[in-house]
Symmetry: none
Subunit: 219 residues, 2 copies
DNA sequence: CCTTCTATGTATAACTA
DNA sequence: TTAGTTATACATAGAAG
């Protein structure tokens, strides 16, 4: 019954659109109520439905009307201020988008470095990496080392008589790169976040983030 | 971090109430947008914030007025076109940015999947390793770290002005990574469900539509 | 056209930096 | 304070009646 991901676009299917309108209008009005209750602020919402001469209004018309009177009375000069702010809106949004892109680029690089770590047995050489990638890799390896240390300490605490010194066993291989497969996850594994991380917010949410009152009404 | 069950009552704590107001107001306006986009109906919401002389209105306050007054349509559409042209540049840029973001998000997801694949293949966790394996691992990781250090020093000697701090990255070098050779089981169908989402144009078009010229130049 | 159901997406309370 | 995270509550798309 997998629910689709809701594409923000006009719903062409008639029945669906009407169903959605109804459900969401209810949800919207509920939210209006909650907001004005929780925060004790006057609030209202108005939705025109096709086929309905009068729009749905929430809360009761009279109160809504009172709320709306303020708008009518708002002087022009303030509207102009708002206009200016709204023009700046696009700018701000672009800045946000670019920031997001930058962050994502870093995230991508980091993931790539993690994979390099996994890959090393496949023969990748450090010589192929640029200085920046080396920096990232350094940190990752260091983190891994810390995780391993930590785990060793844990185990030692449980069994103080154990010894992890593998000198007698280990023969260093030609390749200096460790084989990471299977060394992650679970107990503080440094890679868990890769799996768990929530997908980045879409740009639309970003836009909403900009919809802060202070940007619009800075007087 | 358990989220409380939201008692539908006035929030007495000041900071909390303000935070909630802000969050929920954004959420509310987002819903208004979604509703009017999905179902193509005029809709608006108005929220008064304390400490603000004027209420928050969504969509643009003048548009809201129009909605409320059963606005008259025609002459405005032409002005809207003009408006859109004026904003055309910014809009196109934003579309580009959004596309880029979307592509990057897919890239990130793909990288994450590759790592997951590794984890699954390896199927072991740090916790699963015995003390000896941990010791071996420790040395391997440590050796790797040393190798990385060494390589960094080498590179620095060649180019003393280089900086390995990832934060300094601005433009990505040519993609140096070759991913996971041989790890894509046949067909690689596992990513098929990544649907090409239309770059969030809808919302901005909608926004522009709301930026009706008559609303902005009401003099 | 309604409900009702429920799996899944989204919003957001609480927390952290 | 504002921004970013995470876990959880809530909203709702799609299906079935």
């Amino acid at each position: 019954m997998a629910r689709k991901k809701v594409t923000l676009a006009w719903i062409s299917n008639d029945a669906k659109r009407r169903a959605t309108l109804k459900k969401r209008r209810n949800g919207l009005f509920k939210k209006v109520n909650e907001l004005s209750t929780l925060c004790d602020v006057p609030a209202c919402a108005i939705v025109y439905a096709p086929d309905e001469a009068q729009p749905e209004v929430w809360p009761m018309e009279p109160e809504a009307k009172r709320i709306l009177e303020h708008l009518k009375a708002m002087p022009e000069s303030e509207q102009r201020k708002k206009r200016v702010n709204q023009e700046g809106f696009a700018m701000q949004r672009m800045v946000k988008l670019e920031e997001q892109i930058f962050k994502q680029q870093r995230e991508i690089r980091e993931l790539e470095m993690k994979i390099v770590m996994h890959q090393c047995t496949a023969g990748r050489k450090l010589v192929d990496l640029g200085i920046e990638d080396l920096g990232i890799l350094e940190r990752l390896v260091d983190d891994t080392l810390k995780d391993v240390h930590e785990r060793i300490v844990q185990v030692r605490n449980l069994n103080p008589n154990l010894n992890s010194n593998p000198d007698a066993i280990i023969v260093r291989e030609e390749k200096p790169i460790m084989m990471m497969d299977g060394c992650h996850g679970g107990g503080g594994g440094y890679l868990d976040d890769v799996v768990m991380k929530k997908p980045c917010m879409g740009s639309y949410e970003n836009m909403l983030a900009l919809m802060d009152a202070s940007s619009f009404y800075p007087f």
